[in-house]
Symmetry: C2
Subunit: 328 residues, 2 copies
């Protein structure tokens, strides 16, 4: 009953009585823009009022909800998996792209391009049941540690974004992930990390094959791609899997451009946000020159021209990562 | 606040104080099995208790939540659409399968098979934006009437199933549609008809293409198939788009067999149900001989062997369709 009352009072608009819903955000323009937006779309009688069922918020994952350096964490998972499987594959010692993984030759690995990535994905993300894959990923989150921050990857999430997700949900929004990352990979950590249920996670996906083995039904992960949820694939994925147009969308890179345009193109009040990685001390600083999470000049110009909110991690966030249990 | 209290008292297990949650169901075995299942999985401390976030219920649509005779309603929509578009396509007068539609030759139309269906779908379900398609379908629901029952197709839903959906939701279940029907077609009526939000509707889908036209983003429906959500496609779609295994699944035909097997194969308490169309007076009676919604002998045998609940429309349902506003 306590939780219900809290939610009700959020709805009542009695802001004075509320604790700060975004304590890890500085009192700069982005926080003010977020709160102003949420208040106007939730205030009944407001010309900008949006019914709760239409309060759809979509978030990119890599670089928006969690970090993505030195490279996408799913890619690091795939590399670790290649290493773990190498004893069963002596041929990988001389075969591209696997030999690059085994010798730690990142330059060679990245140069192997899309073909190399697809070969890695086929070996590490297919040929097993969905249940087996889920267990492998969960085990990786338990054991793998980020090279710089020495914490599990599922703790490389952004504290200010956790608060934003909770704030939106407390105000009747439905929060979704819309990411280029693999949907089965994300579902192994994202529901717990972000409070977003599996069915509200949209991502890239491979084909599955239903099979009955000795009377037990199972789903096998195939190496074929069903859907790539990136760039133009993001609005396409939103329509196919969510079926509603977001009124609130957050990204950080050119992979999110079309999702933000799609959100912006709807009628009524809209909020579009971009996380800018400009904090070399506490996280990373990277932009157009980066191979990952490219924040291009053109995207920055589009954001400015259209009044999208650009969040400076350096200036607008008090904290980057959540406090770890043993750091308290 | 009133609604919240009702939900709370459902959770409290104080069954005596409750009105009948399934008034359109006779007090026969299926109703008892449903209520017994819901009570045991929602009772805290019960060995069968299931956390609310894992109470996933999936429903087939055609023949399970609404009728499907004389043929799938989406097919009737496509036929009406061909007729409406015919003046712009004089060549259809002599072209298969269109000429069959225009002359009302159902036998010829059905004989044109998958090729004919795909040609009809390409003309009626593609080549327009998602917004335009949604408007066309909504308009059809407003104007088209079922030949036998003379009511709009979105009122050809089963009253007992509406009650079941509401009962499950009141008990913390998340209800999903998992149908071979087109997802964009269903989303034009199902959220209102069943109280199921667009993102909880899984169906067959065509590919979409994001385009920016004169500065306005739009999604174009392409004639290519992305995913067919039928038979083995149902558990595959459940995993890809919901990401959780249902503990409760309802279907009516061999198209639902794999979904029911997939639900049945999970650990813990499970409920599998089949609607049997055996009511020639109030609805239809059909089975293995039907081209639509085939209820095969093998499926019936599998249901019996595994303790799945078979609902006789004739014996187990008091009412079939909801009372229309003007019939009150």
């Amino acid at each position: 009953m306590f939780a219900i009352l809290i939610v009700s009072s959020f709805y009542s608009g009695d802001a004075l009585a509320q604790p700060d819903p975004l304590p890890s955000w500085n009192d700069t323009a982005p926080k003010k823009a977020i709160i102003a937006f949420v208040e106007k779309v939730t205030r009944e009688g407001s010309p900008d009022f949006v019914r709760p069922g239409e309060r759809i918020a979509t978030f990119d994952n890599d670089g928006t909800l969690w970090a993505e350096q030195p490279i996408y964490f799913q890619f690091l998972f795939a590399m670790d998996r290649i290493k773990a499987l190498a004893p069963q594959h002596p041929e990988w010692k001389t075969e591209e792209p696997f030999k690059f993984v085994l010798t730690g030759d990142m330059k060679g690995l990245l140069a192997s391009g899309e073909k190399g990535v697809l070969a890695m994905m086929a070996e590490t993300h297919a040929g097993m049941t969905t249940v087996e894959f889920d267990q492998i990923v969960r085990e990786w989150f338990k054991t793998a540690r980020h090279p710089r921050f020495k914490r599990p990857y599922n703790e490389m999430v952004y504290q200010p974004m956790l608060e934003l997700l909770a704030y939106l949900r407390a105000n009747g929004f439905k929060t979704f992930i819309v990411s280029g990352g693999g949907v089965e990979f994300m579902r192994a950590f994202a529901p717990e990390a972000y409070g977003i249920p599996p069915g509200q996670i949209v991502g890239s996906m491979g084909k599955l094959k239903y099979e009955m083995r000795n009377g037990t039904p199972m789903l096998i992960k195939l190496p074929d791609v069903l859907f790539i949820d990136d760039k133009a694939g993001k609005p396409e994925g939103i329509q196919s899997f969510i079926g509603q147009r977001p009124i609130f969308a957050f990204g950080n890179s050119i992979g999110d451009q079309q999702m933000l345009e799609w959100a912006a193109g709807g009628r009524g009040a809209r909020f579009m946000g971009l996380v800018h990685h400009d904090d070399v001390e506490r996280e990373w600083a990277y932009g157009a020159e980066s191979k990952i999470g490219t924040f291009s000049d053109a995207l920055m110009a589009e954001a400015k021209e259209n009044g999208w909110t650009v969040v400076s991690m350096k200036d607008d966030w008090k904290t980057i990562f959540p406090t770890r249990p043993n750091e308290k």
